[in-house]
Every structure is written in structure tokens, then in C-alpha cells.
Symmetry: C2
Subunit: 429 residues, 2 copies
């Protein structure tokens, strides 16, 4: 074993960073054995240097992150700051000064992954980011290495623990969205401003990363269709139960049947209770992968939190350090397939539509005609009347999102349709 | 991209081998893009050369496997023969003649993994074997790479699809063991001689491999305690249901609480219906991993079959080819922890014991005294009498297997105990 240590610079020392530093200390011997050389924490860049950080030598702490990544003796930079800047600039500078990078930054990878990979490659360095998607769950490595000889057709996952906690709570207690969100906030599962989670921004960044790796093509955050889950109601859960389903916020990346294009989307959807994703409880994450040869695989585990995310960071750190000792690099960006990312209109799936209609003869015929005119075939209809008003629940066969949108637009124009109470996609069948 | 192809020799062309060859042809462009060079099937060693093999150039087929691995121009040998010899000799010869090896051979790895790793290392070559455990499910790579910075404490899994199919059938239909086995055989899930599966030999080989990788130590097939599932009865399933459990054949690898030793075992066990492994149906496999930082992870997918196993082989093939182009090797054997493998007697778990007893006063007191004398604490007792005979179902708190064995031995000597109907461990709580 080499005795000269590999030097690691840590950018950010919050929940994840402090746990990375802690494990680097407590598991130092194990890490050294697995890498083939000791690793040493050579510097920690923080915003608030005065904060006491247990177990971290204050002499290592600096507010000058740029100077730290420019030092030239750093082997690996671990970036756990998050956000676009200054993370992007620091990672670029790190590559330019000879370091490899381990990052947990989904937003940055989803927006600028290609450019960062290009800088890494130019300088012959590694860029690893297992922790950016689904916390501790090994997902990036299985997709880009274990399934490297296979052809992935679909990735379907619960990749945001906050929203899964809220939806699980609504499902199990009958609570409304706000009530469940309040509980998630009180328990620390949701942040004070929950927008990134509940509006699906976080999941969309992860979907972009997963789609790119799964299909060997470039998918950026802006390519991902996104709908949040704030509109999901207790009534939707009751409808889902009647169909033998539950509701999850899903990230769905699909290869089109002809193989020439892909789609990536995040939205709430009904899935059958028999689907393995339906039983993913609380803040857990799980990702279903369908491929030509392997068939259906699922990866399950904690999707967030300091320790789980640190586990993923450290796995990458070991790999990058080993590569460095070997004078080699791991697999870089694989985007050779260069597929088109199609718009949401081309996605084909099933729909559950709940309409408030006038309770009089001929309404169903009118509604059915509108579906037929837009080429959307109806699977089941359930009608329920009360006090001159009625509700009509329509479940369709598979149709394109564009056809469905056209149908809904036309339905809204019918005099007999008082309103469209909800539209939800049905997945996982 | 390099244009000179990497040469692959295939040893064995059965269900898995023919699928590997097929995918190498149909996905040739994808594989080349992912590796950075084309791969070429340079030879296929078989036992019956006259058999027609669709898609394989007959000129590549040979019965002289030794000559093939000695050719000197082979970059990677893919071994899918199975069994100890000639596979062991051929793999050794392959390393000696400069090739790296991808193997799906659980029996060989479980028996001689350390020796094979040593030869690979001596010659600076790779030995990869993702396909040896749980088919297509990425498990070896996540354990040895993704969790390389974490500390794994427990691996608990369903790693044999045949036995899971049989147990699932017994659970869902109330069928007896023989009836369920017959159906598995008729459907092709069980082999004509099902011994390796139902007696737990197959699962024990996988447990040895998983324990070794998870705990960075050497665990051989002979170190694994093994009990088959032929004794599991419909009555056991009824008892399990009363406890809110089902029965699975589990491979369980554990680090002792003091960290200094490990255990590995395969046996049928009751697990709560709420445990994610309880809902693994049919011939699927799933492995639960518990670690310090990541927490609880689960990996799920098809555990056998030509295509899934080929997917795992090809993932390894891509990695080994990439290493070769880089002039590097991947992680080799990691056995630095050199932990003791403790015997089954030291395993601590809970037990469900069903006794046939005389239906007269004082029996329960006698039985309870025997448990107490052996230091096994009772959680619940259920007594049911009929026609002068009674059955007594005892569920214990956690106790060592040695204490439990002593208890059972003493119970058998009691005049009032007519027989011990079943003993089953309770796991996953």
C-alpha cells in the first residue's frame, strides 16, 4: 500500500459534508485498505468559518474555496455545496488544476453535465455523482456500468422523499395536501420553502440525469416535462383506491417504441397497488428499470439525509481515488446515441379524468363523442349523480398526451361539462 | 475510438452463452461505443460441436477449450460452463496467457475465489463475476464499489428463484411442498434434479460470495450453514400467517455486534409480511443490504434465466474491456478485514417452535422450565388441545442457535412432549 496520502478538498460542510468528513476520520483504515492508500482531508471550504465543526481541525477550514481548489496538490474535490454557482466555477477550476471531482449536485449536473464532463475529459479527470440521484441508492453506477451491455427502455421512479412522505400520508390517513405537507414540515421532511420538492423541480433534475445515463444521450433539466403535486386531493386518492391504485410523484424516462427518441417527465400518477413502487413508504426512494436483457430491476433505499448521501459520496471517492492510483479514469459521459428528446405531447399513456357534469340525459353520449373525435379510446366510465349535478370518471386506453389535451380542451367547451375536477395519468401497468 | 477489436473467447454456449453471443452481435455498435473499441467473438468452446447454434459462425466453434484460452490473442475469456472443473483450470490458464475473465460461476467462486483472485492479480488481470449472484441484479458492483466507503452489517436476501417460486406457490395456494415442486418442474422453474436449489446449495454458494464482498473478508462455501426447504409444510405456512408472516428461503450474512466476526447461513425463515422481501413473488430475487451510513437498501430483479444473466455478463465485459484499454484493472479481491467466520451456534435470532404434547395439566410449566433452564426467553405461547393431544406453539425472544438447540434436545426428552413438529427461525424484524 502507498503510504503518501491522497488529498481531498471538501467544498461545503453542512449535513452531508460534515458526515463525509466524519466517516473519512472514523473509517480511515477501511478507506485506506479499499483504496490502496490513505486519504487525508486537506481543506474544508465553508461560508461561516466561525461555526464549530466537531471532529474537523479548524486549521483546515477556509472561506476561500477558489484558493483551495487551485492549490494544485488536491487529488479529489468533493462538492456538496449544491446550486449552480459557485459550484460550477469551482468544479471547472478543480479540473483545470488537476483534481478529480465527486459531486452530489443534481441541479448543476442536470443543467450543465455535458459541459462539466467535457472539462473533466479534457484534463483526464473523473467526474462522479452517485449522490446526486436518490441518495444512497446505487443507481448511477448500475446504470452506467452494470447495465452497460444491455439496452434500457424505461426508468420509472420515486426520486423525491419529501413528496413521497406527503403522498403516503395522504394515502394512509385520508389527509388533504396541506395537512400532510404541514406534518412533513413539522417532522423535518419538508423544507420551510417546499417549492423545489412539491413542484417537482428536484425530481426533474434527477430525471434528466437518469435519462441521460440510461439512454446514452443528453437530457437537460429543461427537456423534462414537470407537474407538481400540490393539486392532488383526498378525492383523487379515493378515486385511485376504487381503481386498486395509489398516487405517487413519478419520474418517468422512456425510449419511444421506434427507439429514435426519448421522453422524460415528472408528474403525479396513479399506479396499481400490485406494482412494487406502490409499497414504497415514507421518505424512501425506489427506481424501477426495464431493459431488454435484464428485464425489470428495482433499486430501493433512503433517498436523502446526511448519512445516506455521504455513503454515496464516499463510494465515489473510493472509486475516484483508485482510478487516480491506477493513472486511469472511469467511464465518462456516454452520449453517443444522441437521441431526440420528444415533447410531452408525444408521450403515450393512460388517463383518469374526473368531470363535473350536468345530471341530464345525453351527457355521457356528448362526452364520449368528444373522446372519440380526438382518437382517445375509453376503457371505463363511472357516473354518479347528486342534486342535478353528476360526476363522470373516465379511464382511457393508451393515448398520446397531445390527444388527451385536445380532448380536455374540447370537453371544457361543452355546456354540460361544469368543470374538469382532475386529470391524472395511470402508469406502471 | 480504437478500430482494432478486443477479442472475446466464450467458454460454454448453453442458455446463457448463446444469449451473450447473440447480444454481442445485435448490440455490437452500442458495445463498441460504450467500450471505446469494437469487441469480436474470437472463439466458442462447446462440448457438442455438431449442435446448430443460430447466429454463431461455425468456424469459431471448438471443443478444445484449453487451446482457445492459450491462444494468446484473447483479451477476455467469458466462462459460462459452471461447476468446478474444467472451469477452474481454464480460468487459471486464461490468466496465465494474458486474458481477463468474466465468470458466472457461483460454485467455483464460492469454493476457490481467493485462489482465482490471486492468479488474476499475479498476472495483472481482472476477474469479474456479477452474474454469479442473483442474475441480472447489480449486486456485486454496488457492494464492492458503491458501498466501498460504507460499512455493511447485514445482507439478507432471496437469492434462489426456484425455491422462491415453490414457497410463493405454497403461500398463495396452500399447496404442500411436493405439489408446488411438481408445478415448478412442469413450468421449467425447477430442474429434473432439484437438489442444488431446494437443499440450499445454490443459495449457500451465493451467500459465501456476498458475505466475502460485503465484509471484506474470506467466506467459503463450507463456512456457510445450510438447511434446505423440503421440510417446510402447509402447516408451517398456516402458523406463519397467524403471526403475520410468510416463509422464505433466506441467505443471511451478518457481522457480529462486536464487529470481530461474521456468520453466513441459508435456511427457511419466517419474515413479517411488512418486510419488503415478503412481497417478492415467483422466481424473482431480492437482496436487502444494511449498512452504517446508507441504511437499508434493496435490490430486486430476475435472479436467473439466459437473458438476465447475459445482461450481467455483458456489463462485466464492458467494464473489463474498458479497463484493458486503459491498461488498468478494477478492484480485485478485498479481504483485508480477515474476520473469523463463526459457527451457526453463535447466530442470534428468534424462533417459532411447534410441539406436539400430551393434553394434561402441567405440560406448559414443564416446557417453560426447559426454555428457562437454557436461557431462552419466551415471547408468546399458543396452546391448542384436541383428543388428549395438544399442540404448543412457542415464539421466543432473541437467543443463540446453540441455546435453542440445547432447548430442543431437552424438550425431546420430556415424556409429555410427543414430538417437535417444526422449528423455524424468525427474521427481518
Amino acid at each position: 500500500m502507498r503510504t503518501r496520502p491522497l488529498k481531498v478538498a471538501l467544498l461545503g460542510c453542512g449535513v452531508v459534508g460534515s458526515e463525509v468528513a466524519r466517516i473519512m476520520t472514523t473509517h480511515a483504515d477501511d478507506l485506506a485498505a479499499r483504496i490502496g492508500a490513505p486519504v487525508e482531508l486537506a481543506g474544508v471550504a465553508v461560508r461561516r468559518p466561525s461555526k464549530v465543526r466537531e471532529g474537523i481541525d479548524p486549521a483546515l477550514v477556509t472561506t476561500d474555496a477558489t484558493a483551495l481548489v487551485k492549490r494544485g496538490d488536491i487529488d479529489v474535490v468533493v462538492e456538496v455545496i449544491g446550486g449552480i454557482e459557485p459550484a460550477r466555477g469551482l468544479i471547472t477550476t478543480a479540473f483545470q488544476h488537476g483534481a478529480s471531482v465527486v459531486s452530489a449536485n443534481k441541479a448543476l449536473l442536470a443543467q450543465d453535465g455535458a459541459a462539466l464532463h467535457a472539462v473533466a475529459e479534457e484534463h483526464g479527470r473523473d467526474l462522479y455523482y452517485e449522490a446526486a440521484v436518490a441518495g444512497a441508492i446505487p443507481l448511477i453506477r448500475p446504470l452506467r456500468e452494470s447495465l452497460a451491455g444491455d439496452k434500457v427502455n424505461r426508468v420509472l421512479g420515486i426520486v423525491n422523499g419529501t413528496t413521497n412522505f406527503i403522498l403516503d400520508k395522504m394515502d394512509s390517513t385520508g389527509a388533504g395536501y396541506q395537512e400532510a405537507l404541514d406534518e412533513a414540515t413539522a417532522l423535518g421532511y419538508a423544507e420551510a420553502d417546499p417549492t423545489a420538492d412539491v413542484e417537482g423541480f428536484d425530481a426533474a433534475a434527477k430525471a434528466a440525469i437518469l435519462a441521460g445515463i440510461a439512454f446514452h444521450t443528453r437530457v437537460r433539466f429543461d427537456d423534462v416535462y414537470r407537474e407538481g403535486m400540490a393539486e392532488v386531493t383526498a378525492a383523487d386518492f379515493r378515486s385511485a383506491k376504487e381503481m386498486g391504485c395509489t398516487i405517487k410523484l413519478l419520474a418517468i424516462c422512456e425510449r419511444a417504441a421506434d427507439g429514435g427518441s426519448v421522453t422524460a417527465r415528472v408528474h403525479p400518477a396513479m399506479i396499481p397497488l400490485s406494482h412494487p413502487l406502490a409499497s414504497v413508504r415514507g421518505a424512501y426512494n425506489a427506481v424501477f428499470v426495464e431493459s431488454d436483457a435484464a428485464g425489470q430491476l428495482m433499486f430501493y433505499g433512503p433517498g436523502a439525509g446526511g448519512s445516506p448521501t455521504a455513503s454515496a459520496v464516499l463510494g465515489d471517492l473510493v472509486a475516484v481515488c483508485r482510478n487516480r492510483l491506477n493513472g486511469a479514469t472511469g467511464p465518462g459521459e456516454s452520449a453517443y446515441a444522441a437521441l431526440t428528446v420528444s415533447s410531452m405531447g408525444e408521450v403515450v399513456t393512460r388517463y383518469h379524468i374526473s368531470l363535473d357534469v350536468a345530471d341530464k340525459p345525453g351527457v355521457l353520449a356528448q362526452v364520449a363523442t368528444v373522446f372519440a373525435e380526438h382518437g382517445v379510446s375509453i376503457d371505463t366510465v363511472r357516473q354518479q349523480g347528486k342534486d342535478g349535478e353528476a360526476s363522470l370518471v373516465v379511464v382511457t386506453h393508451r393515448a398520446s398526451d397531445a390527444s388527451l389535451s385536445g380532448t380536455v380542451e374540447a370537453l371544457r367547451k361543452l355546456d354540460t361539462v361544469r368543470g374538469v375536477a382532475s386529470i391524472m395519468r395511470v402508469e406502471g401497468e
